[in-house]
Structure formats: structure tokens, C-alpha cells
């Protein structure tokens, strides 16, 4: 069964690359352009993994994280935070709010893909 990956990011310029990379891995890709859209998408269809940007309009990645983890059904979806906020405190906050891992922009796409694979493998 192929995995479904939700990519939530408000920047179309990164969405192009991420979408390409995930599809190349054979995943089904869902896209959200802000936090609220991400939550709506998830309510509609639970993805296998979420690539979550932090700085998004409407709801931030942190908000999304927190709301998901507050619900029983979404306790175990792996969340990989992609963030430009490089401060230790921001990273700590993301992890505390329930993200499984994070990647600091700019990141190597190879590493990203590897991380996604690992995270999905450990769930499966």
C-alpha cells in the first residue's frame, strides 16, 4: 500500500520540489498552503506522514502540531517539521508540541527523503 504524505507549506517554490520528491518516492501527495488547510485535509483523509512548515498563515505549524496531538486519532501520525526558525527554543518547542523530527532550512533533499523513509518505515 502506498503512503500518503501531506505537505503543508505556504511557499509554492518549495512545494514544487517537495511534491516532486515525494511523488518520486512513490507516495501519494496531498498539499496544503496554510495551517488551517492542513487540518482540514487531515480531517478529510488521514495521511501517513506530514511535512509541516512552521511559519504559515492562518495557523502555524506549531498550532497544527498541537491540535493534532490533542486528538486521539492523530496521536501517531509522524510529523516532520521543516523550519527556517533556527533558534534552539523554536526547535525545542516543535518537538515539545509533538513533532517527531525537524529539518532546518536549507536542507539536503537526500537527507529529507531518507528521513521520510525512515519515519514511515518505523511506523509500518
Amino acid at each position: 500500500m502506498s503512503h500518503t504524505v501531506l505537505i503543508a507549506d505556504d511557499e509554492p517554490n518549495i512545494l514544487i520540489s517537495l511534491e516532486f520528491l515525494m511523488k518520486r518516492e512513490g507516495f501519494r501527495v496531498l498539499v496544503a498552503h496554510n495551517g488551517q488547510e492542513a487540518l482540514d485535509q487531515i480531517a478529510n483523509e488521514t495521511p501517513s506522514l506530514i511535512l509541516l512548515d512552521v511559519m504559515m498563515p492562518k495557523k502555524t505549524g506549531f498550532d497544527v502540531c498541537q491540535e493534532l496531538r490533542a486528538q486521539e486519532a492523530y496521536q501517531n501520525i509522524p510529523i516532520l517539521i521543516l523550519t527556517a526558525k533556527g533558534r534552539d527554543t523554536d526547535i525545542a518547542k516543535g518537538m515539545a508540541l509533538g513533532a517527531n523530527d525537524y529539518m532546518l532550512k536549507p536542507f539536503s533533499t537526500k537527507e529529507l527523503v531518507q528521513k521520510v523513509r525512515d519515519m514511515l518505515g518505523s511506523v509500518a
Binding site: I16, S17, R24, A84
Partner: protein, 722 residues
């Protein structure tokens, strides 16, 4: 006439009786031994001469009386008098020499007492002069401190534990004035001697800081202080440092107790803006660039995959182009907007442009060159490092002289835009703005025979300024133009205001350390310890009910028995009606003087704030109060504080005087009248009069506000109503 002394009579009587008894007993004894014939012979001989015997007895008694009287005077009255006089000397400080009289011993005693009095006198004098010396030193130190404070560039306010202000410097006063949210009418101050600091800062903020200090004191910290940041009503950001004022200890092992606190204020609004701007800029640079770089890196890496089709290839290239542009734009924006804020700054000071020009002129003249009358916009304040700037001018002038033989030059200062000024060094000449001239910019400056390592370029950089050479062909002028930063408007205002106010060391009253908040009502307070606002109004006429209006208000404050010369309220008021020409000679206020002045509904709130927590004092207060009361409805400002009237108090003090006009009273008290019939002038005279009345009222047993008001009400004039 000398008083008859009963002791003399008693003495005479006793001696008379003794003589008589002696005569009778002796006579009786002789009589008993005589024969009958002898007895009759004696009777015959003495009988007819008995009056002689009695006469002689009486005469000797008179002689005895005289002797006794002399003896009493000599040995008894003189010491008694001496006793009384010595008692007077003992009871008072009268300096008087006693006249020696009476016996030798008495005279010696008198001389001794005189010497003792002399000695006491010289001891007194010595003590007095020492006390004077000591208090002069204290006064001197106090005013030295106050003078020092007034020169400080930091705002300092000292309060007692109740938060009453007992010392502040001019800087603090100016700063608070700009913070005030009320319109600056009448020069109303938010701070003043005896006023509460809590009018400015929230009580809880200060209390919290004091608690922290108290804790540190108890822990034995050497320099306990605390800080807080607060916003003012006008939205400025203030950093306040609080330090304790500790009691001087007699016993060094005691823990020092806090008797007050010092507030040091920094307006950090600007710093804060710069800092937060830097933060923002930094985060835009890092986090913003991270995102862009992330997008680029991802796009680049994806490009390498063979699966990428042409359309995708093009989209990825667009991403790269896009993000590169985003980054470039970000950096350009940052560069232009933050040039000022990011420059690591040389400490620049605010300086009046005219001052800088004057000093620079002197410097250039010291090289033996002529500097013509400068062209200056005198309102300009610069932000400069004056020393190096003057060196640059001097160096350039010297070069001009040595290279082109320029003898005379001229300085010009004019505003360039909202942030910069042009400061030009001009000379007449044919010189072109050659590379030679421009080259001077980077060569080390030489002034007189001394070389420095400083270059003109360094100086320009310190000011984030610019320098170029320009020709004005029409005037045949060549000039170096320095572009220099203008002091920001806020700072300009501060300095202009500071300049106007002399730094008189008057803003302190350490006696307030001793006074604590009154728990008694104002009514029961002593007249000496109350704070007063003494005020006067000038009006268009005498009938407020028939449309007469206030055109000027003046007021002074009395705190702790002292008239505060620096804290006055002086404001013209636009009456919004015609000023009757016949009233103009009285108050001297021409109609054009009140044009553009605030109206009474602006002035009354300010005056109300000025008079907060004080007793109002006015001469013929009923008149002024009537004007104020008639405005209660329209302004909503109600003066609820007690009012004292110097006219009524004068009637209390001098009921037999015909006139209780202010001039007459002032004359009685020997007060010089300046500016009578301006509101401020009259308020000042009234205040002086009132201050002199307080001790006189006390002599009549009138000590408290209640007593003063009751006494005033009883006087005849109290029935007078306007």
C-alpha cells in the same frame, strides 16, 4: 524716692526700748541706794529738765535710725539688688554690665558676675559662629549637590518613602514635561517639590522595586538597586533605575534603614526602536534567507534528477530565479534602511549649530586666517563629535591657505532635509574642485605643525556623513560641503528648553525627608506644613455672571514653608470675547496677546493638575473662586480643596488697619512689588504676604487650617460677596 524700710524702724524701736530699759534699770538701781535728801535733790535737779533727757533719747534714736538705714543700704539692699539683677541676667540673654555698689564684698561680687556674663557672652558668640559656619557648609554642600544634579545629563529624581519628590534635576523636569499627556499649558509640571512621584509612575511598580531593594539590603548587598521599564502616558519607553537612600548610621553595626529612594531615568524609546529594528532585521536575514535558501537548494537538487521533464525543469529554474531575486532585494532593502541603525556609532553629541560655528571660527582664526561673518540657520541642532569635526575644518583651512593662498573664508550652516544639514567651508577663488582637493580627504590632518593620524574621511565616517567640493560660479565661490546628521526633534526640544532654563540649584528640599504622609485631615494640619497653590487671575471685568472672563492665570507653589521659584504656572487665556479697552490699563493685556492662546477649558484642567493636593490661596479669593466656579459646569473641573484668603487673614491680623488691599499689606510687610497686576506678579506678592502671615497667625493662637478658616470667616469682610 527711696522706699521706707521697716527694718530700720524695727531697729530704731529695739534700740530705743533697750536704751529706755537701761536708763530705767540703772536709774532705779541708783535711786534705791540714795538717801531721801539726795532723791529730792535729783528730783529737783532733773524734774524740770526731763524733756531734755527724753529729747536727747529721741535725738540719739534718730541718729541710730540714720546709721541703721545706711547700714541696711550698704550691707543688705545692695546684695538684694544684685541678686535681682543677676536673676535677670540668668533668665535672659541680655548683655549688660552691672554697676558695683554697696560693700566691698558686694562690689567684688558684682565684678565677678560681670566677668561671668562676659564669659557667657563670648561662649555664645563662639557657638553661634560655629553653628553658622556649620550650616553654611551644609548649605554650600547642598547647593553644590543641586548644581551638580542640574548639570547631569541623566534624569534624576529623589523621593522620600512616601514617594514625595524632594530633589530633581532640570533634565528630569524637561523629560517629564515631554511625557505629559496633558497639553503643556501654563508650564504645568508632572513633577515638583513635594509632589507625588506616583502621579508619574504606578505605585505598584515603584513598590515592587523598593521591595526588591529592601530584600537585597537585608541580605547585605553592597549596592542594592532595582530596575523597571515602563511606558509614559505619551507612549515613551522609560528605563528606571531605583537606588535606596539610606539613613546615616551612628552605630556601624546597625543595618541601614531606607529613608527614601533615587530614581534614575533613561528614555529608551529610541534605543528600544533601534534594538527591535536590529532584531527584526537579523531575523529577516537569517530566517527569511533560510527559507529562500531552502527553496533554492531543494530546487537545485531536484534539477539533478533525470526524471525531471522540460516543464518541471523550467519551473525549477523559475524558482531559482525567483528566490535569488528575493534574496537580493532583501539585502538591498536592509542595506538602505539600516545603514543608520547598524553603523557602529561614534559617540555623537547634540550641539547647537551656532555654537559649533563659533568654536570652529575661533579655531580657524587661531591659524592667522580671517573668518567672515557666517551664514547660519540658528535653529539647527547637530549631532556631532565636535572636536574631530573642528580639526577637520582647521586642517582643510590650513591646506587652502598653504596651497592656494586663501586668506579669508566663511562658514555656512543650513538644513538639508529632515535628517541632515549642510555645513560649508566657503572661499572666493578660481580653484577648481580638482582631484587634489578631493585627495585631501584621505590624507592625515595637519594642524599648525602638528600631524594627527586622523583624516577628514575618518571624521565624515564617524558622522555617517559625506563631503564633497562644489563651485558656485555665479558668486565665484568654492566650498567644501559637509553633510552632517541633524539632532532628532525630540532631543532638539530638550536641549532648547534646557538652554532657556538657567541651571539654578533650586530643585531640592531635603527637609521633606523628615515629613511623612499626613494621616490627619488637611483641616487639622499645621499651616506651616501644608502645601499651597497661591494664584491670581486677571479678568476682562468684575462681573463673571455678566460674561466677564479670565484672560490670565498665574500661580506659585509653597511647599514646606518655601516659595518654589521654579515651579510656576503662568498662562494667558483666550477669553473668546472682547477685552474692554478700559480694563487694559489695569492688566496690560492687549487683545492680540491672547490670540492663539488656549481657551479656559484647556487651561483649567492644567491648573487643576497644578493645584492638586494643595490648599488654594488668593487675595480676595471669593472673586477668583467665583470665576472658577462659574466654569465648573462647562469644563467639569471642580476645585474641591480648601481655600484661604489673604485679604481675610489680613483683617484677622490687623483689624485696626484701614486698607487690606494687596499693595497696602505688602507695604506693611515690607515686600517689594514686581509686576503687580499680572496674574503671576500678584500671585507672587500674595505668596510672600501669606508666608509672612503664618507666624503672625500663630502668635494669635491660629495654628491649623481649620483655625485660620474659622477666624477668617468671622471677620467683617467675610460677609462681602461678589
Amino acid at each position: 524716692m527711696k522706699k521706707f524700710d521697716p527694718r530700720v524702724a524695727l531697729g530704731v524701736a529695739i534700740i530705743g526700748v533697750i536704751c529706755l530699759v537701761w536708763l530705767l534699770v540703772t536709774g532705779g538701781l541708783i535711786w534705791s541706794t540714795l538717801a531721801e535728801s539726795e532723791r529730792s535733790a535729783i528730783v529737783n535737779a532733773v524734774g524740770p529738765r526731763l524733756f531734755l533727757l527724753i529729747g536727747m533719747w529721741a535725738i540719739s534714736l534718730v541718729a541710730v535710725g540714720a546709721a541703721l538705714r545706711w547700714l541696711v543700704g550698704y550691707f543688705m539692699t545692695a546684695p538684694a539688688r544684685l541678686y535681682e539683677e543677676a536673676q535677670v541676667l540668668l533668665g535672659t540673654n541680655v548683655k549688660r554690665q552691672l554697676v558695683p555698689s554697696g560693700s566691698l564684698e558686694n562690689r567684688q561680687l558684682t565684678n565677678l558676675i560681670n566677668q561671668l556674663v562676659q564669659q557667657r557672652e563670648s561662649l555664645h558668640e563662639e557657638m553661634d559662629s560655629r553653628v553658622q559656619e556649620a550650616s553654611r557648609n551644609t548649605e554650600l554642600e547642598k547647593s553644590r549637590l543641586a548644581a551638580l544634579m542640574s548639570e547631569l545629563t541623566k534624569s534624576v529624581v529623589v523621593c522620600n518613602l512616601d514617594g514625595r519628590i524632594l530633589l530633581y534635576n532640570n533634565r528630569a523636569r524637561m523629560q517629564f514635561r515631554t511625557f505629559s499627556s496633558t497639553p503643556t499649558v501654563g508650564g504645568v509640571e508632572m513633577i515638583g517639590l513635594g509632589r507625588s512621584i506616583y502621579a508619574v509612575f504606578e505605585r505598584t511598580l515603584v513598590a515592587h522595586a523598593l521591595e526588591n531593594i529592601q530584600r537585597r539590603l537585608q541580605r547585605g548587598a553592597a549596592t542594592p538597586s532595582a530596575q523597571f521599564v515602563t511606558t509614559t502616558p505619551s507612549g515613551q519607553l522609560l528605563r528606571v533605575q531605583v537606588a535606596p537612600v539610606r539613613a546615616i548610621l551612628e552605630n556601624t553595626t546597625d543595618k541601614p534603614e531606607m529613608t527614601g529612594f533615587v530614581l534614575m531615568l533613561d528614555n529608551i524609546t529610541r534605543d528600544f526602536e533601534v534594538e527591535s529594528y536590529k532584531d527584526r532585521a537579523l531575523s529577516t536575514l537569517t530566517e527569511g534567507s533560510r527559507a529562500a535558501l531552502g527553496n533554492m537548494q531543494a530546487a537545485l537538487e531536484v534539477l539533478e534528477y533525470p526524471e525531471v521533464d522540460d516543464a518541471m525543469h523550467k519551473r525549477l529554474l523559475d524558482v531559482l530565479r525567483d528566490e535569488t531575486q528575493v534574496l537580493a532585494k532583501r539585502i538591498t532593502d536592509l542595506k538602505t534602511s539600516s545603514a543608520e541603525n547598524f553603523m557602529s556609532r561614534w559617540p555623537l553629541e547634540d550641539m547647537l549649530g551656532a555654537d559649533l560655528i563659533a568654536a570652529t571660527t575661533k579655531r580657524i582664526e587661531s591659524l592667522g586666517l580671517v573668518v567672515e561673518e557666517p551664514e547660519i540657520d540658528k535653529s539647527l541642532w547637530l549631532k556631532v563629535e565636535s572636536f574631530s569635526l573642528m580639526q577637520a575644518f582647521q586642517g582643510l583651512a590650513q591646506r587652502l591657505h598653504s596651497v592656494f593662498g586663501v586668506q579669508s573664508m566663511r562658514l555656512r550652516l543650513q538644513g538639508a532635509n529632515t535628517n541632515h544639514v549642510h555645513l560649508d567651508l566657503m572661499w572666493h577663488g578660481e580653484a577648481k574642485c580638482t582631484e587634489q582637493l578631493v585627495g585631501w580627504e584621505v590624507e592625515p590632518l595637519k594642524i599648525g605643525n602638528e600631524s594627527t593620524s586622523l583624516t577628514v574621511q575618518d571624521v565624515i565616517e564617524r558622522h555617517s556623513g559625506a563631503l564633497w567640493c562644489e563651485r558656485d560660479n555665479d558668486k565665484g565661490l568654492v566650498f567644501f560641503r559637509f553633510v552632517l546628521p541633524l539632532a532628532s526633534p525630540q532631543e532638539q526640544l530638550d536641549n532648547a528648553a534646557l538652554l532657556k532654563t538657567e541651571s539654578r540649584p533650586e530643585y531640592y528640599d531635603f527637609d521633606l525627608f523628615q515629613s511623612t504622609e499626613q494621616s490627619r485631615s488637611l483641616e487639622d494640619c499645621n499651616l506651616t506644613e501644608l502645601a499651597y497653590t497661591v494664584f491670581d487671575t486677571e479678568t476682562t471685568g468684575l462681573n463673571p455672571a455678566q460674561g466677564d472672563e479670565i484672560i490670565q492665570m498665574g500661580a506659585m507653589r509653597i511647599v514646606n514653608g518655601k516659595l518654589l521659584q521654579n515651579e510656576g504656572f503662568d498662562q494667558l487665556v483666550d477669553p473668546k470675547r472682547k477685552i474692554p479697552p478700559e480694563s487694559i490699563p489695569i492688566h496690560g493685556i492687549q487683545p492680540e496677546m491672547v490670540k492663539g492662546q488656549p481657551t479656559i477649558d484647556k487651561v483649567l484642567p492644567a491648573f487643576h493638575a497644578f493645584a492638586k493636593d494643595t490648599v488654594l490661596v488668593a487675595h480676595n479669593a471669593a472673586f477668583d473662586m467665583r470665576f472658577l466656579q462659574l466654569k465648573e459646569q462647562s469644563t467639569g473641573i471642580v476645585f474641591e480643596q480648601p481655600v484661604l484668603d489673604t485679604l481675610l487673614l489680613s483683617a484677622v491680623l490687623h483689624p485696626n488697619q484701614a486698607s487690606h488691599r494687596l499693595e497696602a499689606i505688602a507695604e506693611r510687610f515690607n515686600i517689594t512689588i514686581l509686576g503687580r497686576h499680572t496674574a503671576m506678579g500678584d500671585a507672587m506678592v500674595t505668596a510672600e504676604v501669606f508666608l509672612r502671615m503664618i507666624p503672625l497667625l500663630a502668635e494669635q493662637g491660629i495654628y491649623t487650617l481649620r483655625q485660620a478658616r474659622e477666624a477668617a470667616q468671622k471677620t467683617y469682610y467675610a460677609r462681602l460677596k461678589y
